[in-house]
């Protein structure tokens, strides 16, 4: 075997399997562009504008939810660590209890309650702009997913706290906050945090679409999403989209319907495609990152 054999093997395996996250990222963007191109050709202008808006609102909402979850998770982990280091056991116990209480609430139920508050604030014109409403729904989502980030950050801090390089930096007088944020999180945990963010992005899209769909089909007469920004979930719940989705079922028994799916039922089909395809790609990207960085 030549000394360079492992190198060649490494390159081949990297191309084939080591970078699945990038491959799925390219596939995702390609799929979105293809969908945009097709609805640009075949969908009428008002419906097309709705699909594009829904897509943008959903993705921005999910991104904002991830950003807020990261911030909340990091803050919570730092607070827990500070309480632990400062031996403030009672305060730490109370905080842990509150966090576990929040963790025990099913995400969907918690978000439904959050949506009631967002709708109420919208009807009272506290949330006047579209951006503020998206931010509010993102905050609700973040509130029910941020503990995953807190758990991750806490686990990384605990893992490295037992290592000698942390002790070595401490005895050199380096402040613990610098060690945690720069040396542990930034230099040694970035891959973990990016992977978690991608997974949370997928989770946020799933939750936003689910809640928007549930609320839009009419969970309660008290809650109205009339004034909330259109999202992929709420668009899917609209009558036109529902009929489009039903057409897929019809196509299973009547083959003549199949050619019409991508022309006459495009709104519902494209919305469903965007949700399912995005979720598939995002989870594949997260899985690829796990594989690539051996997380």
């Amino acid at each position: 075997m030549s000394p360079d054999a492992p190198r060649r093997r490494g390159r081949v395996s990297a191309l084939c399997a080591g970078r699945r996250d990038i491959l799925w990222g390219i596939l995702w963007v390609g799929g979105l562009l293809l969908c945009r191109f097709w609805i640009g050709l075949e969908l009428n202008a008002p419906a097309r504008a709705q699909v594009v808006d829904a897509c943008i609102h959903t993705f921005w909402g999910a991104l904002a939810a991830v950003a807020m979850a990261l911030l909340l998770g990091w803050g919570t982990a730092m607070l827990l660590h500070a309480l632990e280091s400062g031996r403030r056991r009672t305060v730490r116990l109370i905080l842990s209890f509150v966090l576990n209480l929040l963790r025990s609430v099913p995400q969907i139920v918690g978000m439904l309650i959050g949506y009631v508050i967002v709708t109420s604030l919208t009807l009272n014109e506290v949330l006047a702009s579209e951006a503020s409403r998206i931010a509010a729904t993102s905050a609700v989502t973040a509130l029910f997913v941020f503990q995953e980030v807190a758990d991750l950050v806490t686990a990384r801090i605990r893992h490295y706290a037992a290592t000698e390089f942390v002790d070595a930096l401490l005895v050199c007088g380096v402040p613990p906050r610098v060690i945690i944020n720069r040396e542990i999180l930034l230099k040694n945990s970035l891959a973990y945090i990016v992977q978690k963010s991608v997974a949370l992005f997928g989770r946020a899209i799933f939750l936003l679409c689910s809640i928007d769909f549930i609320v839009s089909v009419g969970l309660s007469t008290e809650v109205s999403l009339a004034n909330l920004p259109v999202t992929l979930g709420s668009l899917l719940a609209k009558m036109d989209s529902k009929q489009d989705i039903l057409a897929i079922g019809t196509a299973l028994t009547d083959a003549r319907v199949i050619p019409t799916l991508l022309f006459e039922h495009l709104q519902g089909i494209s919305v469903a495609f965007l949700i399912v395809y995005t979720l598939l790609c995002v989870y594949r990207i997260a899985g690829g990152l796990t594989e690539r960085y051996r997380l």
Partner: protein
């Protein structure tokens, strides 16, 4: 093992790790291979012995694929008749079998007395340790590193005894990879004595990988009759590749002879006092003066003084250092730092707020673990936030104390994980020394270093002392530090089991 010189090329992950031409390994001779850690000494040993991990590394020996060398009759014979002692005893020993079982495994089953060689390495007062550790399933911390290392070495000795008794024709290749890393000087010397006693009876091919240059002085003084059978090599990195060059032992001996202890500075009051009777992990640790072990005393370190704390392997030198620096909790201890008395009830935050990085710091034993592998060399020093470290020129000046000026630009951008073991150790030491704290604790500062680096580190320590700063030193390199440290600044550490209440 037909050839006496080998061209060895080892690569991994697209990088050539070792590219050495004409590596001499003479049959029936003892080859000492020196050089700093992490530059490929072990890889060469494993390649020659035929146990290189082929899934991880690609290699060529004398221009032939490694598999061809490995299966060649000469190499296979030398391997079958030889033994490989791994550097890290924990990776060599099977945790699912007791040490007694492992001493009689495989080819060692043919030994008339499988425990005989082990007994030679646990003489006198230590003999009682052998019955205690033989039934043990080896783990990371049991038995101690020194005990495991002696057990491993004894396996190689047993293999030699079998060859001697059976009159095997084939000469075996014996590779000892850092066999004395966890041994104190007495245990190391005993190992060398027993090894060369066997060598006198049967000349096997021995490759002894080490960075303990102190061995040279010992073998020159005690085994001079074998000098013709000794070969000394130094592995150095040049142009990114490791190359073996002959090492002149006379150069080291002349250097060692030139080392003189600088008089200890005794006029100032002690900066650090550590009382005897430290109670930790069910043991009591005491300090004493060399030759007066019965009289416990207080360890005192004065400004400008280099204090050397000695003890056998596994006694608790590092534990004491960590108790003093405030990282390890003892059941009972009394120290006084700059006039402030501290003990087991003192809050940990006192060390953090008032001592760490201000009055004292410590360079840890294993540079590999003491540095953040993902940090760059520049970042490893910049994190100290020292005014004297602002700007690349200041960094270059600091690094230039222990690194070659020509390599600084490349070095500063390198990540710690890309450095050799010796480079990591120099960076580890430099980080502690540039802080400028009045007291520095150094745990095995010369481990993993080559001769040039040792010289540089000692020069830097002299400079630190000259600046009035105190150094508390823990090291196995007794050959060097016994010459450098004044006798009045040397302390012995002893340990005694506490009786059950």
């Amino acid at each position: 093992m037909s050839g006496a010189a080998f061209d060895i090329r080892i690569a991994a992950g697209g990088r050539v790790l070792v590219d050495t031409h004409g590596f001499p390994l003479e049959e029936g001779a003892v080859t000492f291979l020196f050089g700093e850690s992490g530059i490929g000494k072990s890889l060469i040993g494993k390649t020659l012995f035929g146990i290189l991990d082929q899934s991880e590394f690609g290699a060529e020996v004398n221009g032939e694929p490694y598999a061809a060398y490995r299966t060649s009759p000469g190499a296979a014979r030398a391997r079958a008749a030889g033994f490989f002692v791994f550097q890290e005893p924990s990776t060599h020993l099977n945790p699912l079998a007791t040490l007694a079982e492992q001493l009689g495994e495989g080819t060692l089953r043919r030994a008339a007395d499988p425990l005989g060689a082990a007994g030679e390495l646990f003489p006198g007062g230590e003999r009682g340790a052998l019955p205690r550790i033989l039934p043990v399933y080896p783990g990371p911390h049991r038995p101690s590193g020194g005990e495991k290392q002696r057990i491993l070495v004894s396996m190689a000795f047993t293999r030699m005894d079998i060859a001697l008794a059976s009159g095997e024709n084939a000469r075996g290749l014996y590779v000892f990879d850092e066999p004395t890393g966890s041994l104190d000087r007495a245990a190391r010397d005993r190992f060398l004595d027993r090894l060369f006693a066997r060598f006198r009876l049967r000349q096997e091919t021995i490759l002894l990988i080490t960075h303990d240059y102190g061995m040279i002085a010992y073998v020159r003084s005690r085994h001079r009759d074998l000098e013709e059978r000794f070969r000394f090599l130094d592995l150095t990195v040049s142009g990114g590749n490791a190359r073996a060059r002959p090492f002149d032992p006379g150069r080291f001996l002349a250097w060692l002879d030139a080392q003189r202890p600088e008089p200890a500075e005794r006029s100032h009051p002690p900066l650090l006092r550590v009382e005897s009777s430290i109670s930790v992990y069910g043991r009591t640790l005491d300090f004493s003066r060399p030759g007066d072990a019965a009289a416990p005393c207080t360890l005192a370190v004065r400004p400008g003084e280099l204090v050397y704390l000695k003890a056998g392997s596994g006694i608790g030198k590092t534990t004491v250092a960590k108790i003093v620096i405030g990282l390890e909790q003892a059941d009972r201890f009394r120290i006084e730092i700059d006039g402030v008395r501290l003990g087991e009830v003192s809050p940990r935050r006192y060390w953090r707020k008032h001592l760490w990085g201000k009055k004292m710091t410590m360079a840890f034993q294993h540079a590999d673990e003491a540095l953040n592998p993902k940090a760059s060399v520049a970042a490893a020093l910049r994190i100290l936030s020292l005014a004297s470290m602002r700007g690349n020129d200041a960094l270059r000046t600091a690094l230039g104390r222990l690194f070659d000026a020509a390599e600084l630009d490349v070095l500063m951008a390198k990540k710690v994980w890309q450095l050799s073991g010796g480079q990591k150790q120099r960076l580890n030491l430099l980080r502690a020394l540039v802080l400028g704290t009045p007291l520095v604790i150094l745990d095995e500062p010369l481990s993993a270093l080559d001769f040039e680096s040792i010289d540089r580190v000692l020069a830097l320590l002299r400079e630190v002392r000259a600046g009035g700063r105190a150094i508390l030193l823990i090291s196995h390199n007794e050959d060097i530090f016994d010459r450098l440290v004044s006798p009045e600044s040397v302390y012995m550490l002893s340990s005694a089991e506490q009786s059950a209440p």
